[in-house]
C-alpha cells in the first residue's frame, strides 16, 4: 500500500513538473518558429536550408542548433540537473539521518546504507542519460 502511494505521488509530481514547464514552452517555441530572427527569438538562419541535397557539416550543425525541440531539450535537461542534484543530496542526507537513528540494530543500518546506495545509483543513471544525449545528438548540444 505504501509502495503504491509512493508511486502515485512520484507520477503526480513528475507530471505536474513536466506539464508546468512544457505547456508554456511549446506555445513560446511555436511563436518563435513562425518568426525566426525576431527580437528575443533565435537568430535567423541565413543560407542554411535543412532540406538541401548535400548538407555540409557546418549547415547540418547550424540546423541542429536551431531546432526547436533540441533547444527545449537543453532547457529541460538543465532544469532536470538542478532537480536531480538537490534530490540526490536530500536522499543521502536522509540516509545519514537514518544511520544516526539506527541505534545498534544492524537491520536499520542496512536500510540506511541501501537508501544511500539507491541515491548514488540515481545520480549515475542521470549522468548516463546526459552522456547518451550528448552522444546521440550530432555536434554536442549542451554547452
Amino acid at each position: 500500500m505504501a509502495q503504491k502511494l509512493k508511486k502515485i505521488i512520484i507520477v503526480l509530481c513528475s507530471g505536474l513538473l513536466i506539464s508546468g514547464y512544457l505547456l508554456p514552452s511549446v506555445a513560446f517555441a511555436d511563436a518563435q518558429a513562425i518568426t525566426p530572427g525576431a527580437p528575443g527569438g533565435p537568430p535567423a538562419i541565413t543560407g542554411t536550408d535543412c532540406n538541401v541535397a548535400n548538407p555540409t557539416a557546418t549547415t547540418l550543425n547550424s540546423c541542429v542548433k536551431h531546432n526547436v525541440i533540441i533547444q527545449d531539450l537543453n532547457v529541460i535537461v538543465n532544469i532536470l540537473g538542478a532537480v536531480v542534484g538537490v534530490v540526490v543530496t536530500g536522499v543521502i542526507i536522509l540516509g545519514g539521518i537514518q544511520y544516526s537513528m539506527a541505534g545498534d540494530s544492524p537491520d536499520a543500518v542496512g536500510k540506511a546504507k541501501k537508501r544511500i546506495t539507491n541515491g548514488l545509483i540515481a545520480l549515475a543513471a542521470f549522468f548516463l542519460t546526459y552522456a547518451f544525449l550528448q552522444w546521440i545528438i550530432p555536434g554536442g548540444v549542451f554547452s
Binding site: V86, T89, G95, I97, G103
Partner: protein, 127 residues
Amino acid sequence: MFAVVFAKLFPTLFIGCDLSSSSFFFLPPWWEYLKGAPDELGQCSPAVNFPHVILPVGLALLDIMIRLAGFVAIISIIIAGVAYITSSGDPTKAASARKRIYNSLIGLAIVFIAAAVVAFIGNSLLS
C-alpha cells in the same frame, strides 16, 4: 551553508525588498535564498517564478535537513551516553551503547560529506 555559493551564482536573486527571515527552532524558512517582492498588500513576500526557484528552494530544504541531522545525531549520542552510564558493568549493554555512538557519528559524517560535496561542486562551477 550554501549562502555564499548561492549569492555568487545568482546575484540578481538578492536584489529586492528585505524578507523577514524568521526561523523556527533554529531551522531556516524555505524562502531563505529567494528575493522578496512587494505584493498587492504592500508587504514583502518571496518572489516565486517556477523553473528558476527549484535550486534556491531545494538548497534551503537541504539546509533544513542538515540542521535536523545535527539535532538527531546529538540526541542519539546523548541517549547512548545515558545508556552507557546506566549499563552498570553489563558488557552487552555497554557494547550496544558504543555501537549507537559509532552509528550516530557515521551518520553525521555522511551528512556533512554530502553537503561539502555539493558546496564544492557549486564553487567549482563558478570558476
